[in-house]
């Protein structure tokens, strides 16, 4: 029964996604509420290029194929948008990962962004670094790669808990940072440690804001539609419960 309900929910998601993909325009992004942290990512990337420095992007420590894959997929989407903006001016970002599966994927994203921008010679496979599969070792290893002489800012997007603090180094960091996590402890750490943080589902909206395309915007609209549906359902169930009607 549960799996059938699950399949039904997936079907609803897919149908909504197709519907919104067909009806959404790229200009619809202007109607979205402003997420200051995501606007700040664009500012950081542009400032880094002006300074002739690079952006360090951390994709968190979650691994593809596990429970928290979606956070990493959202981070990959955001990375694609940041890499495009950065590579358009021939300055690829430095990306650190904790999952070796991500190494060829991220290499592909950076290579493609550079080739499209006409800077194929600027690509090098070491622009992506596999640090360590262990969360603590990853955070410490990635921290070592933040060289203030060559790195302008750090952007952390993905699944990461309190170890995020190692990467953003509150109060002592030599570079600016923006962080977002889908982990509750990571969110609180990010809020306390950085001036610009992505809270809750913000990381899943990153690609739609940073490099809007129809599919990303359709994804946002699908989330909103389902959210309204769930909220309505919660209110209806609560009222039914109050008046003594139980469907359990």
């Amino acid at each position: 029964m549960t799996s059938m309900i699950g399949s039904l929910v997936i079907l609803v998601f897919v149908l909504l996604l197709i519907y919104y993909y067909r009806t959404t325009r790229v200009t619809d992004v202007e109607r979205n509420r402003e997420i200051t942290s995501l606007s700040q990512v664009k500012v950081l990337v542009d400032s880094a290029i002006e300074e002739g420095q690079r952006i360090h992007i951390s994709l968190g420590y979650a691994k593809l194929g596990q429970n928290q894959s979606a956070g990493t997929l959202a981070a990959l989407d955001a990375l694609r948008a940041i890499a495009k903006r950065s590579c358009d001016r021939g300055v690829p970002p430095l990306v650190t990962v904790a999952d070796p599966v991500l190494v060829p994927m991220v290499q592909d994203i950076i290579r493609e962004s550079l080739v499209r921008a006409g800077y194929s010679s600027a690509y090098h496979s070491t622009q992506v670094e596999f640090i360590a599969p262990n969360p603590t070792q990853y955070a410490i290893g990635a921290l070592q790669r933040i060289d203030p002489e060559s790195i302008y800012a750090t952007v952390v997007i993905g699944t990461i808990d309190e170890r995020l603090l190692f990467l953003v180094q509150p109060g002592t960091a030599p570079v600016s940072s923006i962080s977002g996590s889908d982990h509750p402890v990571g969110m609180a750490s990010s809020y306390a440690a950085t001036s610009y943080s992505l809270i809750g589902e913000d990381i899943f909206a990153a690609s739609a804001y940073l490099h809007p395309d129809r599919l990303s915007l359709a994804g946002l609209k699908t989330q909103d539609a389902v959210r309204i549906g769930i909220a309505f359902l919660i209110v209806v169930l609560a009222i039914m419960n109050m008046i003594g009607v139980s469907i359990y």
């Binding site: 959202a74 989407d77 070796p100 991220v106 599919l215 994804g219 959210r227």
Partner: protein, 212 residues
């Protein structure tokens, strides 16, 4: 040719995503989707291969840093030497991660170092708090600070009516407000995760171009 080269991986990922999704959906009904289990097993094998790719990347990155005499290149040298020692130990002992030497390296070097590093988190947390106190905050920043203050003071077990009031506030904050907020955030994250997963599986390569 280039078009076929792009189409093949898209088709492979689409079919795989569909088979795996359908496999999980019909499993409780006793229906077995062909290749479902095999595809899931292949994920494990591919993860193993990916670890080798990761190792090659690690060696490549640090070797380059040593050659170019980059800042703190000496750490890269230590890392590569350590990597070689651990691999050599495992090969010589012939028991993989279950070997005594490997266990010793893990228990007496890696674990204590990791624990020491993790203890630094409290310092970073303190810095975060000080940073928030020093800088002007939006209203929600002050709510955050007030909550931290109440929880911290309440855990000190202050006696008398003030202690009781603080304890009630702590229980209410943790049990009602925090739980409600976390549930709301988790619902948002779950929706985001579902849509992102579906987009990646059925409409787009992760981080790549649209299939639609």
């Amino acid at each position: 040719m280039n078009r076929i080269g792009k189409l093949v991986p898209i088709l492979v990922s689409l079919v795989t995503a569909f088979l795996v999704l359908a496999g999980y959906a019909v499993q409780p009904l006793g229906i077995e989707i062909p290749f479902h289990r095999t595809l899931v097993q292949w994920t494990m094998v591919l993860s193993g291969v990916a670890l080798l790719i990761g190792l090659v990347n690690l060696i490549q990155v640090h070797f380059q840093r040593i050659i170019n005499r980059e800042r703190e290149w000496i750490y890269s040298l230590v890392l590569l030497a350590t990597c070689a020692i651990v691999i050599l130990t495992a090969v010589l002992e012939g028991k993989g991660p279950q070997g005594n030497w490997i266990k010793w390296e893990f228990n007496y070097i890696i674990v204590p170092l990791e624990a020491a590093v993790l203890s630094l988190l409290i310092v970073y947390l303190l810095f975060s708090l000080l940073r928030m106190i020093r800088k002007p905050q939006p209203w929600h920043g002050y709510v955050f600070l007030a909550t931290v203050f109440i929880i911290l003071v309440a855990t000190l077990e202050v006696s008398g009516p003030i202690g009781a009031a603080l304890d009630t506030a702590r229980i209410w904050l943790q049990g009602v407000l925090a739980v409600g907020a976390v549930r709301g955030m988790i619902m948002g994250i779950a929706l985001g995760a579902a849509v992102t997963g579906m987009r990646a599986a059925l409409f787009r390569h992760p981080g790549g171009e649209d299939k639609a």
